[in-house]
Symmetry: D2
Subunit: 363 residues, 4 copies
């Protein structure tokens, strides 16, 4: 496998470049007979869509999905489900001046060293536009998970130095366009972003993700722990620089007597009275909320002057103009949810193959 396929029992293959003909995804391994809601799928696309958020890039893409295969009479058939988005508003002329130069913070240099040939139009395959395909696939996974009562939700809890209060009401994320649970912080974050756009700069942030309703026992032991696959999935998103589960890096400063989550009996099953672990033990779900946070770096494209080098080996000063997001976190929120949903559904399928069998055996 060469890095464009993700997942095992349920796997996705994404394809397409920022300014190519289309972006798309093939989902293989999906169950048959599932009534797919295409309106919900389109709505998820719209959450990530460029042009859909005043704080994000002004590039306008309708991101209208088209199903090429895998459905019949409104149901999935068990055959690969392929979803494509044809690109319409690509503006490659914006990029001709950077065809020969390596932009700081971008993958220009590393892809050039890797492949020699480089599709420089809008960052080509390395563009964040590839994540549209992930959102489409994730929307499918979310629908299946919803039937099981599993919800995957993400929101912004920090932009630059502005941090949401930790006891903010999670369900009020939708009251602002940043998906931030703290309305006061959200207002300040929006101001910061507008300010940075005006100055041609960008900023990083933190996205938090909650997985609710997941039963205990999900995650494969040793190498394919739930945490390991989520970390793999999240670090595969372009600008992500770190991930932490539960108390995360703070756990480094804690004692076992503080960190360990005690168990008590619930109404019918044991439960935990705290959740420092963030919903996993030994990498397998405990039945508590799975909670993790990812750190995103500032958007690499800034119009302030930066030192860099071109393909001829000459140093030059570059100003990256074009239509960019001052903070990539906003449009990354649905991408985080999508990837988390895909990991969870893959692991449920992987668990099913054994447990389904054991039930048949009556053991």
């Amino acid at each position: 496998m060469s890095g464009n396929v993700f997942g095992e029992a349920l796997n996705i293959t994404t394809f397409g470049e920022s300014h190519g003909a289309a972006i798309g995804v093939t989902i293989d391994g999906l169950e048959a007979g599932f009534p797919l809601d295409l309106d919900m799928l389109q709505k998820e696309m719209n959450r990530r869509r460029p042009g859909g958020n005043p704080l994000a890039t002004p590039r306008k893409e309708s991101d209208t999905i088209q199903i090429l295969s895998g459905m019949f009479d409104g149901l999935t058939t068990g055959a690969p489900l392929t979803i494509v988005l044809f690109n319409t508003n690509q503006n490659s002329a914006d990029y001709t001046n950077i065809a020969e130069v390596f932009r700081p913070g971008h993958a220009d240099w590393t892809w050039y060293k890797k492949f020699t040939v480089r599709d420089w139009r809008g960052s080509g395959r390395a563009s964040g536009r590839e994540t549209a395909a992930r959102v489409a696939a994730g929307a499918v996974a979310k629908q299946v998970l919803a039937v099981h009562g599993i919800q995957v939700t993400a929101g912004i809890t920090r932009i630059g130095t502005i941090t949401a209060l930790s006891d903010s009401p999670w369900e009020e994320r939708h009251l602002n366009i940043l998906s931030c649970p703290d309305q006061v912080a959200a207002t300040k974050m929006a101001e910061l972003i507008e300010n940075l756009r005006a100055h041609g700069d960008s900023v990083g942030g933190i996205i938090e993700c909650h997985i609710d309703g997941l039963w205990p026992g999900i995650g494969e032991p040793v190498f394919d722990k739930l945490t390991a696959l989520l970390a793999h999935a999240m670090l595969s998103i372009g600008a992500v620089k770190g991930i932490e589960f539960g108390d995360g890096f703070a756990a480094a400063g804690m004692y076992g007597s503080q960190f360990n989550d005690s168990m008590v009996m619930g109404s019918d099953e044991p439960k935990f009275i705290t959740n420092h672990a963030g919903g996993t033990l030994g990498g397998i779900s405990t039945g508590e909320q799975v909670i993790f946070r990812i750190a995103m770096k500032p958007t690499s494209s800034i119009s302030l002057p930066q030192k860099t080098v071109n393909k001829k080996g000459e140093e030059e000063i570059i100003e990256v103009h074009g239509r960019h997001d001052p903070c990539i976190c906003l449009r990354a929120v649905p991408v985080v949810e999508a990837m988390a949903a895909l990991v969870i559904l893959d692991l449920i399928y992987r668990q099913n193959r054994r447990s389904g069998h054991a039930e048949q055996l009556g053991i």
Copy 2:
């Protein structure tokens, strides 16, 4: 695949439980004709070996490796290389009292929900002892990488609230048994650990890892980024709760104009004047040092009383005695190096298949 296989072009399969007959690993995909240094391999095992460090568990295992296959006349043959360690000092009687109860912080509950059947002797398959197999495989990978001039080194930079100075000399990690670059901090860390052992408590910490000598262009695009695979590998280590690359979580508070690493011309190739990114762009190596940190939770086994639940659904108070590490970081250092080395070599092999080909084609 079911979670006990890791890697693609180079893959490892580990097997064995803490108190079973043996722990082992099969490495598949290794190049033929490599002169393997078994003494170095044994030395790596000794770094992680229980009983080898006064600050760690007093369980004594010689961890003597035995090669079952894949070598002939001192050379690898291209056939799977299997390395086993027979367990000798298991003391299952220590564990009989916890056969029926779920220890807080351990995988007891989650593995029980996953598999129903549970090998409770010394945590069975969920034990950190499984990582001995990884260290063996990693030692092989390190030897191959060393021929290319690539070094993978890790050290402890934080235990509890004691943090190593960031400008400590990395090469002086070997002057203390904590692999800490800061000798003053190391002394305090050792005191803290001894103190906690006396009180039956444990503590978390941070391990930092450096990959030096890696050329640019390594890492597969999109899903199998170098960062994504390292995150997957690290979060597959039992007690790891987070990972960050380069500036990591601090990037969330930075501007693009601060974070972007400018490029200048070096003697023959472009280079970077800073390394906020931590050695990757778009998930592919830049040629700069790859640097990441992982957060480890406190050891779950503590002898202080904790509330928990048993298999019958009764609440009880548990004190986990036995031979445990007050801080798991010490013995995790070689595990971190091992997993990082395996990821790097796998990705180099994956890169080779294309570049080797292109050379043959003369394109």
Copy 3:
């Protein structure tokens, strides 16, 4: 993985149904910088295209390929290459009468038992139309192999009881529309096929495939032998009922002293004076021609009356009308070549990863 992905270092994912919106393929792992000849690619499509052969189905599809991703300025970029063919001439009305009944010889019954939901239009995903995607991917692989001097060619050597003479000139396959090296036999085969079409019946046959120019050492040991992967690939083609390499089933009746191929010195390397083995030893290429034959069953769709059962569990007599091939071998020839080419290129890439590395090491 769920059966729609094939290959490792080079993998393809196919998608699409006979009467859905499109058929397509994503090729992942392809080298960057390869100048892809789209005219050759379209010509390969035309060899398999319905409507392109008077002895085959009269369904007309232009099978015009469209590249959605992975190319820039005429070169592959190393990103996934997606090729689609939009369906234009599907005639689902032909099939409404078989929506509720299981056609003998078809996958109707087995897919129904597997998935419950069934896209019955033109056999849906189980249709031979899926192989168009494979021909597209195979054409790409053939172009890369050609640069290495490797040729994959297939032809028909038997239809019903009519068998091509074994010493027929292989290069004269192109003189008839059956790709048969024996012109006299080809004429008789064509007559037989026309005759069967008139009577509403069908017939089976044998396709032989030659791989020339492959150097020794290709094929992975033990489970991924060259022979094993070719067998996997060929038996994944709908109507194939068997495969044999070299002397194949005749080897069952031979002595070791007859079957073993003796070696002598060639101009610079050892060579074999016979090729009973068919170009592999221990499943790895010898440097001689790789030769295999596959048996294809008669086309399942015949208009003669057949007994069968419907979804309600009632027995009925069915006559399958529609536009069918009386002998599927004709259009399967390019599919056999395509799959063989994909296997060879995958195995070359897999070999490269190690050998490329060894060269760097100077060992």
Copy 4:
């Protein structure tokens, strides 16, 4: 993956060489809680064991299995199950004369070209001894399948020119040491083999395999058809030169009206009145007996003089002495059963992941 791992939901990794320390296998993905019968496992080993059959090699190996991991209290735990056989009777001195020469029919030449380094002792990794590990894994799979009422049985139906009558009673295979259902033919086969051993020659044969009790719907569509995976598995056995399903190559000479299997209603489900297809349609099980045959070449090691070439490029005459099987079919019978059982169980697990899920969803 590098060819020593087979299977997906259930995968095996084999390791070990003919004259190395041990041969072994790790099975990953097995369900937990299965009561494994180790006596049955050892009996299966004995069926393949050298020294266990007067018509086979006189090399004596006890082939006593040792479980290194994955069991506790007589049950599988869901952790990887590793089984090893330590080699005891290797006689490498027998092979020193062939360290520098390429034996005709063997993998000596091809492995040398692939790996350069070669473990020549008893053919090293390319030895049939590797299949002992497969028999061990297959015995585990057979036990699980047996609980489902699925039986995998194989027998010899041809040796040289001696063919068993096709209506011989399958269940009487155990009355002779060839596992041949025709006792008269078996006697002649035994005479032929003894005769060939006396003359230093060898002979090929055909093994037939039946899978009974498999329900319809097993097999993944398109690339991982049941037939495709069985073909992959069988052609991965050293001396196999071909495979055919149901009527196999004879289907090439048949009309659709002859070959198609008509359906009628059984007591509760549709059934087929013939089984030309051999138990699959579209590569997925029909519910009828899955039946296939494989062709095996004569044993490559013969003591008659043969022309060949050595590593220095000199031609020489070789006589391969040592302890060899005049006909490899005898000991291959349990290997065929083992690989078929592993394929079936893998595909059942792969099917479970979806169907188990659909049941939970109530759709």
